[in-house]
Symmetry: C2
Amino acid sequence: MLTATRYPVVTADEAAAMINHGDTIGFSGFTPAGAAKEIPTAIARRAKVEHEAGREFKIGVITGASTGDSLDGELARANAVLFRTPYQSNKYLRSAINHGETRFFDMHLSMLPEATRYGSLGKISFAVIEASAVSEGGEITLSTSVGASNTFCNVADRIFVELNEYHSSELKGLHDIYEPKDPPHRREIPVYRCNDRIGSTTLKVDPKKIIGIVKTNRPDEVGGFKETDAITQKIGENVSSFLANEIERGRIPKSFLPIQSGVGNIANAVLGALGKNPSIPPFEMYSEVIQDSVIDLMRSGKLTFGSATSLTLTPAMLEAVYNDLPFFKERILLRPQEISNHPEVVRRLGIISINTAIEVDIWGNVNSTHVMGQNLMNGIGGSGDFTRNAYISIFTCPSTAKGGAISTIVPLVAHLDHSEHSVQVIVTDQGVADLRCKDPVERAREIVDKCSHPDYRDQLSAYFENAKNGHTPQTLGSAFAMHQAFMEKKDMRGVAW
Amino acid sequence: MLTATRYPVVTADEAAAMINHGDTIGFSGFTPAGAAKEIPTAIARRAKVEHEAGREFKIGVITGASTGDSLDGELARANAVLFRTPYQSNKYLRSAINHGETRFFDMHLSMLPEATRYGSLGKISFAVIEASAVSEGGEITLSTSVGASNTFCNVADRIFVELNEYHSSELKGLHDIYEPKDPPHRREIPVYRCNDRIGSTTLKVDPKKIIGIVKTNRPDEVGGFKETDAITQKIGENVSSFLANEIERGRIPKSFLPIQSGVGNIANAVLGALGKNPSIPPFEMYSEVIQDSVIDLMRSGKLTFGSATSLTLTPAMLEAVYNDLPFFKERILLRPQEISNHPEVVRRLGIISINTAIEVDIWGNVNSTHVMGQNLMNGIGGSGDFTRNAYISIFTCPSTAKGGAISTIVPLVAHLDHSEHSVQVIVTDQGVADLRCKDPVERAREIVDKCSHPDYRDQLSAYFENAKNGHTPQTLGSAFAMHQAFMEKKDMRGVAW
């Protein structure tokens, strides 16, 4: 490992001691991949001590997206979070947010870096960045994610580096660091193909800004996903058949287009199904996250390149990648989230976006963030960045949840993150609803007939088929009746209008 | 006027006779500016004759955005519209849509051209395009708008040109026609400044595709706007003060950034206020529409350049521009709507977007399209194209409507077009709510305190201040109670929760 000697080596607790109540910190991490681990845990320890002594101690926490338990979990349990943005997925932090104990505001992930530079997030006092190497000249080789680390290092005057020996010492070349200038001086983002390299292999900072290096040796806290089950497998097959048919009809080029795919079981199933479908040619990804299933597809040759901002792999899979690094360095680039999710590139490349919904309504609106319209699940993430500019935008979900007591197809989403104007295709285990060029009533029929569970079809049709109120025959008095039924008696079935 | 002689000159009725029931036609027009006038009116005449003879006769109508009464009005009154997309603003067509008699599906305006090329809109049988000149070689000089005319001419095999002598014969040079290639061959849209010219002055088509020229001499059907009143003037001043303060705080560059401004009275008032504010330097617009107030600002020197897709001027103002054309040709470019509204350019230039809302909710979501969630007003237009990628996104509305019986600030918008993730600033006559970096409850307080009418403040605060349900304390059972009160007793006041 290339470890420069000019920087002070400090303990995590020494670093945490330099941080003050009220400071805002930009932490590395996009998913648990490459997230800062030691210093946030030490800050949590310090917060507990301060709180026990009767002193206030909370910090503003900005990251790339979600992180690991050593960051969001530790800080949440220590009640040390003044505010948090953007996406998170930690159960302790989520609980604090939903109980009104922690301020959380959500942002499109591509916009976080520029908002940080433009100043609306206030002063960033420190950047805390995990790295696999640091040179004397201030060249940081990041680890398994880029996220917004480049921006945090640019705007902060003081940088702590967590130098994590767990990662391969050969990662240089995996990253492509490019940060656009701000208006009115911004130029094009010169990515024309998924594998275009446009920046530098390292994150270059003024070495005087690196005020401490914390040495560590810890894996990313990436959990495993559940195995694909019959429902998710069916969703995957439905997506794959739909896309194969679009190629057949000449509405997607025969050479196919880059795929963006969200994170989780459904995304795994979708990628698996694309991999198995002989009508889908070998393809590329331009996405946020590379997860285990992507690695399998790369080995098989079905996936020829993956551009993302994080390598979110289970420890065993990451080890396998590190053992075969030359193969994967030819096939993977990690970029800043501002670039992996940039609307300019998404629109230009013609990305097919595939994201997961919590619920979808009969008009084609999608709820990605709030259960029953109230409790935050994780956040909008990059789903808006990709959906809004996709060549074809797809949302997936199982047709029911909670053993059938919840229909994910509802008269009106209880929280709306993606509007009917931007959502083009809905896929459930039941089938595929193609909403393009359909008016609201046609969309409602398509979604109910193709995507809703048979237990709910009559009920959903009854909601709109006899309504005679306008272009969108919404009945405001009963639009949430199914949600209310669930909240009252834990079952959406049997609602009459 | 440069009029080629190689093309057959036909009457509008002869052209209409060549169109069949079920054909989809792409018409020029973005607002009434540059809209086809003679042929759609003739199609409406033909439809009436066919209907009287007991035969079906309806056509699919695709345009740039809204058009004039000769197009949308005539076709709607003749019941000749099979489907219509995108935006419209004609009262007869709106009524047919809201009574379920005409299919209308809405699209982001920047996406219409690529959707047309990608094939999801089906075959476009004819392009019907207003022009100010046509050369022997198939070079069409458009009139007062570009809209999607270039795309319609590219994809259709047969083109009718309405050669309108009303327009100046010197318009060549006003337009900048550029159509991107489709993925995977698309390159950057090379607009780096508002006045960058990237395409050709004329729309070049295969001359064999021009199957008929209809000669006419008719003005655009642009109506006047109401004069600015005290309410809209206050909104304009609030926007202007907010932006001046952002410059002062260093969050907008001192040289300012390009403005996108919607259409109508509030937009006029905003531009007027920006023009008068000495803290706002001379600026440029990168917008959809140039309306009368823009011309005044150009003459005064406060507006140095305007890029748009239409020149939507009242006849007197258009005449004045035509009389001083060299001055204005140096200061105006009309581009295809795919370019005027392109997310790549909007994000790159750092546009400040200012659009009008029908209603806004306390969480920062915006309804731009549906009154009471049911009846279509006009459509989303370009508001999503600009809002989603703006440097700062602003929505304006008066704090009340219908003499105070409607609060435009509500607990939950009855139709959601722009989500809390993309809406940054709300401005009413009451004040300015800056939503950036605020969590849902903070946003609710900011919007109610700064933007809602005093008659509604206590009522709105009571909705969320005592609710204890999650990150977004929405109460689904009463979220639309104010809308229901209006529908039942024509007044939103006095709702208790």
